[in-house]
Amino acid sequence: MSDNNEAPPPIPPDDDEDEFGVIKKFCYVNRKAPYGTVYALESLEMVLIAAAFDQDVSVVFMDDGVYQIKSDQAPEAAGMKNFSKTYRALEGYDVEKLYVSKESMEERGLTTDDFLVDVEVLDAAALSALLAEQEVVITS
C-alpha cells in the first residue's frame, strides 16, 4: 500500500494522450448570423474553451454563419458588443483551421476579401469530408 503523501504514478502516454489527457478532433460548425441571436458568441466561447484544453479544433462557417467573420462590423451604434475581433485572436490560441462554405459565401454575395481572418474555402463535398473525420461536432 502506498504512502498517502506520495504522488500517484504518471499515466503512461499512448497515441491518444499527453500529460493533459485525451486530445480529440473538435469541430465547431457556425450557422447563425452574429447579432440576431446569441449562438455566434456562445460558439466562439466554446471554441476558446476547447483551445484552452489543447484540443484539435477546427471551425466551420456555413449558411448565415459566414456573416460572423465579415470585416468592419460596428455594432456599437446599435447597442451591441463587438466580439468580431476575437476571431482574429484565435490564431493566438493555436486555432488556425478556419473553413468557409463556398456555396454559403457565394449565395450571400461575399468573397474571401470580406472576411477579417484567413480562411480556407471548401465546397460542399470537401466540407463533408472534413466533418466526416471529426470526433466531436458541435453545431450552433
Partner: protein
C-alpha cells in the same frame, strides 16, 4: 391604407422576407432591420427579388443595423434607401400602420 412592413430575420434563415414581399400591396413600404438587412446586400441570391420589389414597393434598410454587420452603404442593392433611426421613426409616423413580419 398605407402600411410599413418590417422584416427582422435573415432571408437565408427564415421565409419572412419572401412572405412579406408576397403580401405587401403595391406602393407600401418595406423596411429591413436587424438580420433582415442581409436581404438588401448586392451580389447575393436576394438581389433579384429586391430589384423586383423596388419596382412596386418602397424598400428601405436601417443603416445602423447594416453597419453593425459590416455592410457598407455601397453594398446595398440599387433601389433601396438607407435610413437612420430618425428615418425609421418618420416612416412609422407617415404610414397608417406597421406590420412586423416576425
Amino acid at each position: 391604407m398605407s402600411k410599413l412592413h418590417t422584416v427582422n430575420k435573415s432571408p437565408f434563415d427564415r421565409n419572412s422576407f419572401d412572405t412579406c414581399l408576397t403580401h405587401a400591396e403595391d406602393g407600401s413600404a418595406v423596411l429591413l432591420i436587424e438580420d433582415g438587412v442581409y436581404a438588401a446586400v448586392a451580389g447575393g441570391q436576394t438581389a433579384a427579388r429586391i430589384t423586383e420589389a423596388s419596382a412596386r414597393l418602397k424598400v428601405y434598410v436601417l443603416g445602423p443595423d447594416l453597419a453593425a454587420r459590416g455592410m457598407a452603404d455601397d453594398r446595398v442593392c440599387a433601389g433601396v434607401s438607407v435610413v437612420d433611426y430618425g428615418g425609421f421613426v418618420d416612416l412609422a409616423a407617415e404610414h397608417d400602420a406597421v406590420h412586423s413580419w416576425l
